[in-house]
Symmetry: C2
Subunit: 291 residues, 2 copies
C-alpha cells in the first residue's frame, strides 16, 4: 500500500503530473503536452499506473463542472480548445484508476497550495499570463456557488492614459483579461511582454488594472493573502508596482491588517509549483476524510 | 422559558428591534432613532428586557469587528458617524442581556434572510441607497476573511456617457458607491432620485453600474441569487434595466443556470424586512448549536 499522493495540473498546453509523499515532497514528475484528450488522458493514466498513489487531485483548465450532483460532473465543458469541449476528464481517470479523486480548477489548486505553504485559512490566487484566472479559498473551502469562479473577466475602471485601447477579450473587450493579460501588452505595443523595457509606461497601466482586482478582491472577500502568479508577474518589477497602485486605489478605505509585502505577493512555491502542492494537500485531505 | 428569537438591525439612522417565533413571524417590533450610543443601546436593552428572547442576532452598520478572537470583537470600529466610533455594541448588549448573540453586518443579515426565505445555499445581497453595501453567504457561511466584505466600494468601468462625472465617494471618487448610490443621482442632476422621471437616461447609466457589480459578483462568487434592495431599487423600473445590462455585459461568457428573473431580484421579504428574518434565523441556529 502506497503512502503517496498524486497531482494532475491539467493545462491547455501541458499536463503536469506528479507524485508526492506525506510532506508533499515531489518524488516524481512528468510533463506531457496537451494534445488530443485520448492521447493526453491515456498518458496521464499510464503515469499513475506506473506510480501508484492513494488518492489524487486534478486542477484543470476550464470551464469545468465541479458540482458532484451534476450529470456532467468532472467534465471540461465549453472550452474553445479544439477537441476538449465536453470531455469527461474525471470519469476517464476514475474508470482507469480506482482511487479517490478531487476535481477543481487549476487556479483553485494553486490557491490551495499557496495557502498550505504560507499557512493561512484564506487566500486568493490570480494567474496573469496568456489569460487571467483566479481561485479563492476561505476557511479551507473553495469560493464558488453554481459553478467555480471566473475572476479574470471582471470589469475594471479604465486607466486615463489607456482609454483608446479596446482590449482583447473576445467576450468583453476591456474586462481585466482584455486589458491586463499578456496579449494586451502585445496588442498595444506590437512586441511581446518579455521585450518591453522595465521603464515603459505600459507596466504602470497594467499594474493599475492588476491592483484594481486586488482592491476589489479585498473589498469582496477580505482574504489573508492575494498571490499573483503567471508569466506577466515574472517581470520582477511588477509586484511592487501593484502594491503601490493598490495603496493609491484603496485610498485608506479598508485597513489591511498585514504588511503589504505579506498581503500582495508573488507565489511562495517556486517554478509554478503551487498547484502541485495544492493538489497533494487536497488528495491527502480526501484520503484522511475517507477513514 | 421563552421560545422567541430577537433581531437588532442597527442602522445609522434607526435601530429596528424585533422578536419572532420559531417560524420567524414578527411578534413585536419597535424602531428607535440612532441617537447617542448610550441612549440608543439603553433603549435597545429595555426592549429585550420587556420582551425576553432565547438568543438574538445583531446586524450592524459598520465597519465592525467580527473576529471573535479580536480584542475589539463586537465593536463598531472606524465609522465617521459622530459618537459611534469604537463603541462596544455587542459587549454592552451582552453585559445587560445574558443570552447568546450573533454579531454580523446589516447586509449580511439581509443576505441571510433572503437566502432563508428563497431557500438556497448561497446568495449575495446589495443595498443601493444612500450608500452601497453588500453581504454574501455561501454554504450557509458569510463571505469574509480578515474582516467582513465592503462590496459597495469596488471599482467599475465607467459608462461612456458618464465619463465627466467625478463620482461622490469621499474615498474613491468613482467607485460603485461613488457613481451608483442615491447621492450620485442628485450630484448629476441636482434633483433627488425620487423626482427623476423614469425615462431619464441617468437610470440606464446607473443600471449599467449596478449590472456590472452583478457581473463581477457572478464571476467572483457564482451565487445562486443576487438580490438588490435599498432606496434606489424601489424605482420599479430599475431591476429589469439591471437584468438587461447584465446580459449585455456578461456577453455569454458565463451561463447562469437560472432564469434571470430568479437570479437578479429585488428582495423577497417586503418592507426592508430581510435583515430581521435573517437575524431570527441566525439566532435560532446559534440557539440550536448550543444544545
Amino acid at each position: 500500500m502506497t503512502n503517496h499522493y498524486g497531482s494532475i495540473e491539467a493545462g491547455g498546453t501541458k499536463f503536469v503530473l506528479a507524485i508526492g509523499d506525506e510532506q508533499f515532497n515531489i518524488l516524481k514528475t512528468n510533463q506531457i503536452p496537451t494534445t488530443s484528450p485520448e492521447e493526453t488522458i491515456t498518458r496521464t493514466i499510464e503515469f499513475f499506473k506506473e506510480n501508484p498513489v492513494k488518492s489524487l487531485a486534478v486542477g484543470s483548465f476550464g470551464p469545468i463542472d465541479i458540482k458532484p450532483e451534476s450529470a456532467t460532473y468532472g467534465y471540461i465543458t465549453t472550452t474553445p480548445k479544439a477537441g476538449w469541449a465536453n470531455v469527461d476528464l474525471l470519469g476517464k481517470l476514475k474508470a482507469a484508476l480506482d482511487i479517490p479523486m478531487v476535481f477543481t480548477t487549476d487556479v483553485n489548486s494553486s490557491a490551495y497550495g499557496e495557502m498550505i505553504v504560507t499557512g493561512g485559512k484564506s487566500l486568493v490566487y490570480f494567474t496573469i499570463g496568456t489569460g487571467i484566472g483566479g481561485g479563492a479559498v476561505q476557511d479551507g473551502k473553495f469560493i464558488g456557488g453554481f459553478s467555480h469562479a471566473e475572476m479574470g473577466h471582471q470589469y475594471v475602471k479604465r486607466h486615463p492614459d489607456d482609454l483608446n485601447f479596446a482590449g482583447v477579450c473576445p467576450f468583453h473587450g476591456d474586462c481585466l483579461e482584455g486589458v491586463a493579460a499578456g496579449p494586451s501588452l502585445e496588442a498595444r505595443l506590437g512586441i511581446r511582454g518579455e521585450e518591453i523595457p522595465a521603464d515603459s509606461k505600459v507596466w504602470d497601466i497594467q499594474a493599475f488594472y492588476i491592483a484594481q482586482i486586488a482592491v476589489n478582491t479585498t473589498l469582496a472577500l477580505a482574504p489573508e493573502k492575494i498571490v499573483f502568479g503567471g508569466g506577466v508577474m515574472t517581470q520582477t518589477h511588477m509586484i511592487e508596482r501593484v502594491r503601490k497602485e493598490f495603496t493609491k486605489l484603496m485610498a485608506g478605505y479598508v485597513h489591511v491588517p498585514y504588511l503589504l509585502t505579506d498581503y500582495i505577493m508573488t507565489p511562495s512555491v517556486a517554478n509554478n509549483g503551487s498547484a502541485t502542492i495544492g493538489n497533494f494537500a487536497l488528495a491527502k485531505e480526501l484520503d484522511e476524510k475517507n477513514y
